[in-house]
């Protein structure tokens, strides 16, 4: 079984974006926590223990939202205390925490998306929208790497060539701007060369095709259909209000019936897909290795 990231980028991004969008769609703590856990686990699975800064920011958000929301939000009836004559309510605190969890979960899903979508995969996706746009996008991506290197070079050169004057505050401030100006001049002149190189190789001579190594295999189609079906199974009950929870003025939970469990269950399956693929791949490798 192929790992999740080698599947067709369109199928992969449909899965990731649906997982993120359904999270956006609801305010039900159980579903949000499942979403956060799955997004977080897949991220950790791919990146290992690193990215402490990102975890700190993403997981700090719920706490921050919980504490801050009651400051702006006077809804709710259970007053905890008064701050500058404004009521600080339990309901607002809960609501803040829930929206915080929602944001954290979405952040992890988006982060997984941008980690998985390398430039060639993005090119493949943009192509559906517009081939021309896809090309502008790739060239821009390439330029970003190029410009960052060049900017670093310019900064060093400016220093080593003695073009900063000593003890000149205005000059120091102008430094950053000058680096950018030099980069700009260089970038525009270079752009013209790139454009000639493109037309020399026949760009704009007629209908063009796009080379890609991605195909639709049965596995990809299954992944796509599975994502769509699970999303539908989750979204339909949600649309009928199966997860509708009132927060203000008092917390009213949704009706825990078939619709509730269908929505949460289907979403759980959807959010687990990347992990399931990763797990099966690990198992396959393990058994292959033991056979050897």
């Amino acid at each position: 079984m192929r790992s999740f990231e080698t599947m067709n980028p369109a199928a992969v991004s449909v899965q990731l974006l649906l997982a993120a969008c359904i999270t956006l769609f609801c305010l039900e703590p159980s579903l949000l926590l499942i979403s956060l856990l799955c997004g977080l686990s897949y991220f950790v699975l791919r990146n290992g223990g690193g990215s402490r800064g990102f975890h700190l920011a993403a997981l700090g958000i719920p706490a921050l939202f919980a504490v801050l929301n009651p400051l702006w939000n006077q809804h709710g009836v259970t007053v905890l205390f008064f701050l500058n004559d404004r009521a600080y309510t339990l309901e607002a605190l809960c609501y803040g925490a829930v929206t915080g969890v929602r944001l954290a979960a979405v952040l992890y899903w988006f982060r997984n998306f941008s980690d998985l979508m390398t430039s060639e995969k993005l090119f493949y996706l943009f192509r559906f929208l517009s081939p021309k746009l896809a090309l502008i996008f790739t060239v821009a991506l390439r330029n970003i790497t190029l410009f960052r290197v060049q900017m670093h070079k310019i900064q060093e050169t400016q220093r080593a060539a003695g073009l900063y004057r000593e003890g000149h505050l205005i000059d120091d401030l102008r430094g950053g701007l000058r680096v950018f100006s030099i980069l700009l001049t260089w970038a525009l002149e270079n752009g013209i060369i790139t454009a000639s190189s493109m037309s020399a190789r026949g760009y704009g001579s007629g209908r063009r095709t796009s080379c890609t190594f991605y195909r639709w295999t049965r596995g990809d189609v299954i992944l796509l259909l599975l994502s769509l079906a699970l999303s539908a199974a989750s979204l339909v009950p949600i649309a009928y209000g199966a997860l509708k929870r009132e927060y203000y003025p008092v917390s009213v939970p949704p009706h825990y019936g078939a619709g509730y469990f269908l929505a949460v269950g289907a979403y759980t399956a959807l959010a687990l897909l990347p992990l399931i693929y990763a797990g099966k791949e690990a198992l396959t490798w393990h058994s292959l290795r033991s056979e050897i």
Partner: protein, 552 residues
């Protein structure tokens, strides 16, 4: 029918009165390998661009260009794109996408090729060029030579019949340049691709060319087999400066018979023509060692904590007022020496002194004020204004007074845009710009890259002029001919240590492989003749061998 035929082509740019290309006629047969040479600004680039419909500049023109019998303008857009390939000078800027395989596919995509066919072509061309391992890489991570090979491959994948190249090796180091030319020769031999290449580094390309076209001031002054052209060139033709050492020696020493094109030919046919009893010119005394301007003692440096050492206990002394060239292969640590001396990077062990003071003792930016300055390899990292004058004024409003002593008259170029200047002029403008900070130690990184022989001579003159005004020049270069001709002293760097440091004559006559072509030609016949001028002087001093006329 000729593959390419140019009849009476005249090209004039909109704002100019004189044509850049005037009444040029020539034709190339399929499978020919032709070299187009001439001084900078002689119209080579314009002529080449006129041969490719998509790249024609804004201009008025007369005359015709036909490709396989069809006028260029009447060629179908796709046929024109695929059958006439064009490779430009700068490796980096021609690359469009951010994956090697995608770059190869780019041309085919434009032609609307089927995906299956594309994948097959990519596999084929990658194997021919030996770049399979690079397919998944981002081109930004490749070396200059690899990038240029990628550019060539992504043109060749469209199977062109005619390949036009505009100074493709100018930005490459000698090894990469030589690899590139070898690949070109292979393409010409294996697929009979017609090649027209504009170059001013001719040492290696002349021996493999079938045809040599020489341009001067927009006119084609010669067009024949290389040997024939070279025999008839006037003694003072400007293009001679860029010719192989063998050819220049033949001219300067007054050789007879066939013009030798390579070192081996010169040793076989030219050197035996002279009596060769005097073996050496009187030895020039080494310039006296004065107060050191820059000094490294047991310097150790690495870029990353766990990386390899780039400088391994390097000790190096540059005397005040001299012109010191540091030579060595790729990765020898040449540029690193400049970074360390200019304070951009710090050694982790050892001592670095500039004018007797430790680098650390220069507080704030005092090191770069009136003391040390580094002229970068890529002068594009310096320019930001619309004219050369603004460029200088940007550093110092009173630039004209400060540059009164500058050994080059910049006034004709002041109104021009920096990017419209030729490579050599850009280099000198950049030099003027950094000289405005009045440094006493000038560090140069590969200043001759992309310059033709005349510009190199001009640059050397400027640098000697600065020397005469008391400026110390430390220059890092791959260009050993330049070092041999112009340096007061040379240092030969390898793997982070100094292998030899002496006068150019001593260093290059001591080296057997990493040495000038003139030294390789004269080895065994003469001692310490490392420049063409020295070797020619010895030849003339010895005189022709008597009764040897029949031989030649």
């Amino acid at each position: 029918m000729a593959q390419l035929a140019v009849r009476n082509l005249t090209v004039t740019y909109p704002e100019c009165s004189t044509p850049v290309v005037s009444a040029v006629s020539f034709s190339l047969e399929a499978g020919e390998f032709a070299v187009l040479c001439g001084a900078t600004g002689c119209g080579k680039t314009t002529l080449l661009r006129m041969l490719k419909q998509e790249l024609r500049p804004k201009c008025t023109q007369s005359g015709t260009v036909t490709f396989a019998g069809v006028p260029l303008g009447g060629l179908d857009a796709r046929r024109s794109a695929s059958e006439i390939g064009f490779v430009m000078q700068h490796p980096e800027q021609q690359i469009v996408t951010d994956r090697v395989w995608h770059e190869l596919a780019f041309g085919l995509e434009n032609l609307g090729t089927e995906i299956a066919v594309m994948q097959r072509r990519i596999a084929e061309i990658a194997s021919y060029f030996g770049i399979e391992d690079l397919l998944e890489r981002d081109p930004a991570t490749l070396s200059g030579g690899q990038k240029q090979l990628l550019n060539l491959a992504s043109v060749m994948i469209m199977q062109p019949r005619l390949l036009l190249l505009d100074e493709p090796t100018a930005q490459l180091d000698p090894i990469a340049a030589s690899d590139f030319l070898t690949t070109l020769q292979r393409l010409n031999r294996d697929f009979s691709t017609t090649i027209l290449i504009a170059e001013h580094r001719l040492e290696e390309v002349i021996p493999i060319a079938d045809r040599l076209l020489v341009m001067e001031k927009g006119r084609l002054i010669a067009d024949a087999a290389p040997r024939e052209v070279l025999r008839r060139l006037p003694q003072d033709a400007p293009v001679l400066g860029g010719m192989p050492a063998a050819v220049r020696l033949w001219y300067e020493a007054g050789g007879e018979g066939e013009v030798p094109l390579s070192v081996a030919e010169a040793r076989r046919t030219l050197m035996p023509q002279f009596a060769n009893t005097v073996r050496a010119l009187p030895e020039k005394p080494a310039p006296p060692l004065t107060e050191p301007a820059a000094e490294l003692r047991e310097a150790w440096f690495r870029y990353e904590r766990r990386g390899r050492d780039v400088l391994t206990g390097l000790s190096l002394t540059v005397s005040t007022g001299e012109f010191y060239c540091l030579i060595g292969g790729n990765g020898a640590g040449k540029s690193t020496v400049l970074r360390v001396l200019s304070g951009v990077s710090q050694c982790y062990a050892g001592e670095v002194r500039v004018f007797g003071k430790r680098l650390r003792e220069y507080k704030g930016r005092s090191l770069h004020q009136g003391c040390v300055t580094l002229l970068p390899q890529d002068v594009g990292t310096l320019f930001l204004c619309n004219t050369a004058e603004e460029e200088l004024r940007e550093v110092d409003k009173h630039f004209s007074e400060k540059l009164r002593d500058f050994p080059f008259d910049l006034s004709p170029y002041l109104a021009m845009h920096p990017y419209d200047l030729s490579g050599g002029q850009q280099q000198i403008l950049a030099l003027a710009k950094v000289m405005l900070t009045e440094p006493r130690l000038l560090l140069l990184d590969e200043p001759t890259k992309g310059l033709d022989a005349a510009s190199k001579a001009q640059l050397a003159e400027v640098l000697h002029g600065l020397n005469a005004r008391g400026v110390t020049v430390l220059c890092v270069t791959h260009d050993i001919e330049f070092a041999a001709c112009h340096a007061d002293r040379c240092g030969f760097l390898s793997r982070g240590t100094l292998i030899a440091a002496d006068t150019p004559a001593a260093v290059f006559s001591g080296n057997a492989f990493y040495t000038t072509a003139a030294s390789r030609i004269s080895r065994g016949f003469y001692d310490r003749a490392v420049t063409v001028a020295d070797a020619a002087a010895l030849c003339r001093q010895n005189g022709r061998r008597k009764g040897d006329a029949a031989c030649s």
